[in-house]
Amino acid sequence: MKYALLVHQSQEHFDRRNDKAAVSAGRAYAEALQAAGVFVAGAGLDSPRNATTVSIRDGKRQVHDGPYAETKEFLAGFGIIDVPNLDAALEWAARHPAAGFASLRYVHC
């Protein structure tokens, strides 16, 4: 089963992502995923300040700046993991070193 692991962080946590400790914890986590053979894909995301939104209204494309983070925590990265079941996915999600919270979605494929 493939699950999308959506990692949400606070601004404070996000700002520390390039600190030495955060970088090494992130690397260790990625290596653990690889070693367990469950890693499919994943990436950290740039700040929501630099996000661009496209919406389609009446067949017309509208592009605008944002979204700005309105909530305390925002989507900061994602991963796709291939594990036997939800409990296994929850284990991995709970081990993520920088997640304020993480949500899991089953990936249809």
Binding site: P84, N85, L86, D87, L90
Partner: protein
């Protein structure tokens, strides 16, 4: 064989084995709704064929065999993934071996209980899911006990079952350290079946609350499946103690009678005895918990039938423990009352 005898035989199997059959089928396919449909078809086939052919020697194995074929057919129709085919192959083999031997098929109800009370399932769906899958309680009855429309209830149940299947919530008994918390979810969901009845009791002024016996049946099942879990015994003891006083709770004019003024002659001594036996077994494990404490408080009240007085100091002490483990408003109030009754009202009010 006469039709009524066959129907009685089918009813007996349904009553004794429904939850075990569903659990067995669902644990292998990961699909609760699919297991229910298949077993439903198997019961229909039994109603059609048993009157003419006679009740099979091993009715459960017969039903399992038919249900398994239905699941394979359904899977083929849906052209499901390779993985599900493997599960079904496994069921085929296991069902064949069940039919061939005298042994009973494995009991997977504990795994089913953990799935129903999985934290990924909507909390309000957990108890209904247990009642429906483990005991086979009719969805309309569950809806009326929970005071929601049958349509809303079945929608909630369908959603929960879809999530179990699609998100692949595993049929497993969790291991420590996860186990303790997960057991508490199962206990809470069972207790909710008992207390839900209390709300409908207020609404209908009936002396019997809707799901009490089902909740106790679930509690009994859990003590059989987890004989070494003290809180399972504690929960069953608590429910039995409360249920023992059903006849004494209302006066003939319908007025509520507080516990300390109830006529103890109306209490069910056999239920009290059973509750005490479970509380005693729980104590043997030397691991205290919320349900054991609550049951112990009820046990002190129950002893009034013999001693004619209530040991409020003892009750206050038990509440003290309960407040530490589960500081809820109910236990805080209970502690204050017990301390006041024990003759130390100021402490009862002012001590946090």
């Amino acid at each position: 064989m006469s039709e009524s005898v066959t129907h009685a035989a089918i009813e007996t199997v349904a009553q004794d084995s429904y939850g075990r059959l569903i659990a067995y089928l669902a644990a292998r396919s990961g699909d609760v709704a699919g297991a229910e449909d298949a077993l439903g078809d198997a019961f229909i086939a039994a109603l059609r064929r048993w009157p003419a052919e006679g009740v099979p020697e091993k009715p459960e194995a017969w039903l399992l065999h038919v249900a398994r074929n239905r699941m394979i057919d359904a899977a083929r129709r849906k052209q499901v993934q390779q993985k599900s085919e493997t599960f079904l192959q496994q069921i085929t083999e296991e069902a064949a071996s069940v039919a061939a031997t005298q042994e009973y098929f494995p009991d997977e109800r504990l795994k089913l209980l953990f799935v129903c009370a999985h934290p990924a399932i909507d909390p309000s769906a957990q108890t209904p899911l247990m009642l429906q899958t483990v005991l086979g309680v009719d969805a309309a009855r569950i809806a009326s006990a929970f005071l929601v429309s049958p349509a809303a209830m079945s929608q909630q149940l369908v959603r929960a079952k879809n999530k179990i299947r699609d998100a692949a919530i595993p049929f497993r008994v969790p291991e420590p350290p996860e186990l303790e918390e997960r057991v508490s979810f199962v206990l809470d969901a069972i207790y909710a079946a008992y207390t839900t009845g209390w709300e409908s009791l207020m609404e209908t002024a009936s002396t019997h609350h809707a799901l009490a016996s089902e909740a106790i049946a679930l509690g009994r099942t859990l003590t059989q499946l987890m004989p070494h879990e003290p809180e399972a015994h504690g929960l069953l003891a608590l429910m039995l103690h409360c249920e023992a006083r059903r006849e004494a709770r209302y006066a003939s004019d319908g007025d509520f009678v507080p516990l300390d003024r109830q006529d103890t002659a109306l209490w069910s001594q056999s239920m009290i005895d059973e509750a005490e036996t479970h509380l005693h077994s729980a104590a043997g494990f030397k691991r205290m918990g919320r349900y054991q404490l609550e049951a112990a408080i009820q046990s002190v009240h129950a002893s009034r039938a013999k001693t004619t007085h209530i040991d409020w100091k003892e009750i206050a002490l038990l509440y003290e423990g309960l407040v530490r483990i589960a500081p809820r408003i109910g236990s805080l109030v209970g502690r204050a009352v017990a301390i006041a009754q024990a003759g130390e009202p100021l402490t009862g009010i002012f001590c946090p």
